[in-house]
Symmetry: C2
Subunit: 329 residues, 2 copies
């Protein structure tokens, strides 16, 4: 589709974003939208307490990616990292299944300290972003604790134990988001979603079941997405019928889902107005408006191109719609 | 004085030990006494909470020194340390006046985690020692919090803020050990001090006012030292009328004390049976038994020689004494 090189539209864009895949599109969006018009709402269902520290893996992945300090090989953690803390921790008999680099550790120690002093996760995140030179707003989906737990063939366990410690080996039976119902959407995200000049909501190509669902489960989030006049557009995380990265293929199979864009469209049914699928794929779902683009984001250009496509697609959907007063008439 | 190369005496030795200077003699003692006969009781008045972590500077200095992983240049911290945590913390706007190396940090994070789970500081310290290959017992003076505070020309402040953040610049008016009276001596130290076969107590060449006094202030410690039949021998921390390291000269002057072995002997008056002073010094106090030895501990041999001298001196004092039943008769 035709995409303008420079984005001049007004109105805010809210991107719902998980970890590595989501962070790539978030980076692309941050390069094509004026800073103050973009809010990146990040999953905190993966957050956990480890070694007495509050770890926010997705928030950190997005922050490091946008700050240009992310490890380009792993997608998580920091570039040019050292591991002397971990090695010493191992000598002392500490838990080492979750890798914490020396640079990365500063984030967890300082965030934990500030949380204990009563600061909000969003305040701390925004302050870290400023200090790392990030101008767009990265916000945790909620200030309240939401914790993803999985019921598996090896029993119930917190997400990180399943994902990192057990390397996704147990078979998943169901996924729960503890605390989500009573949690509230972070207030600036909520205000942006309710704002009459909201331009669009973008669901990044993150794992729908493990990264996006916890966001949708937060009290009021689903209603806000259903209630907005702005278009909601998702990018399918599948390319060629497979996940680009992570355990999504295995999770989808175990939950009894076919690996297809149609499954993704069904999963977001009633929430999204459009789905962007990879240009290499021939099987296009027919139950939702579809845009086709390269969704494999290797280079920064790939990320910016996809960002422009998603925005243009959302704007097209918006343009085709009757005005709000006409619809409500 | 004549010192036997190999120590074959039975009975326990308890060494009261502060940071860097004390750790040197502790290392010497650990090399000349059978492991199970030595207990190193370490000052925790310098402990503090920083960045949400429990830091025990003296315990760590002694532990690292005996494990052979201490930084030989600074005396504190770990050898071949890296500082990526600190650099990242600075970027994030965290407090950086107290240097925490990447390797060192593992000690603080893991100790804090275990303390929060309800373990005793001594249990954690002993476990760390085992894992670092230390066979002698290093024990915090107390499981209870004792916090050294100084009243200065710049107002009252916690010890580390005076010592590290303010680089000992404010003039000291008085020193307080908050919590000391209601704190109890760590139980294994207490048992050793009360044991009828206690061989001797050694007061290491640590700062008497800032490192040894907090130990003496712990509820019951002074009484136990006064009540034991075993000799109590101190090593003067002064060499040539000066402190080998640290702010002792300045502190002693500000508190109105002359820098001399006699002042040290007076300070420990009623507690010690002997004082070891440096062989280069001519001014020898006459109010206490004195042994003369090189107390500048550069090499491991220096440390072991001084350890042997102190033990032989204590044994001599012991031999000159009437037996307990004779004295009490």
């Amino acid at each position: 589709m035709t995409v303008s090189a420079q984005d001049t539209r007004t109105g805010r864009v809210v991107a719902l974003c998980g970890g590595i895949g989501g962070a790539k599109l978030a980076l692309g969006l941050s390069k094509v939208i004026t800073d103050e018009r973009l809010i990146i709402a990040v999953n905190t269902g993966d957050d956990f307490d480890h070694l007495g520290l509050h770890i926010s893996p997705d928030v950190d992945t997005v922050t490091y990616t946008l700050a240009g300090v992310a490890n380009p090989e792993t997608g998580w953690g920091r570039a040019e990292e050292t591991w002397n803390f971990m090695k010493s921790l191992e000598t002392l008999g500490g838990e080492t299944w979750f890798q914490l680099g020396d640079k990365d550790l500063a984030t967890h120690v300082e965030r934990t300290r500030r949380l204990r002093e009563g600061e909000c996760l969003s305040t701390i995140t925004e302050d870290f972003c400023k200090r790392l030179g990030i101008a767009v707003r990265i916000l945790p989906m909620s200030e309240d604790p939401v914790r993803t737990h999985v019921d598996t063939s090896a029993g119930p366990m917190p997400f990180q134990n399943y994902f990192v410690e057990r390397r996704c080996e147990p078979e998943i039976e169901s996924i729960r988001f503890e605390g989500a119902e009573s949690a509230g959407v972070q207030s600036d995200i909520s205000m942006a979603l309710k704002h009459p000049e909201l331009r669009c909501v973008i669901v990044c190509p993150s794992n729908p079941y493990l990264s996006v669902d916890p966001m949708l489960a937060v009290g009021g989030m689903r209603q806000m997405l259903q209630g907005t006049d702005a278009p909601v557009v998702a990018v399918s995380p599948l390319v060629g019928g497979k996940a680009v990265k992570g355990p999504m293929d295995k999770v989808m199979s175990e939950l009894g889902h076919t690996l297809s864009h149609a499954t993704i469209a069904d999963h977001y049914n009633g929430l999204i107005d459009g789905l962007v699928v990879d240009s290499a794929d021939s099987q296009i779902p027919d139950r939702v408006a579809v845009a086709v683009e390269n969704t494999m984001m290797h280079s920064l250009d790939d990320k910016m191109n996809l960002a422009r496509t998603v925005l243009a697609f959302a704007d097209e959907i918006s343009a085709r719609r009757p005005m709000q007063h006409e619809r409500s008439a």
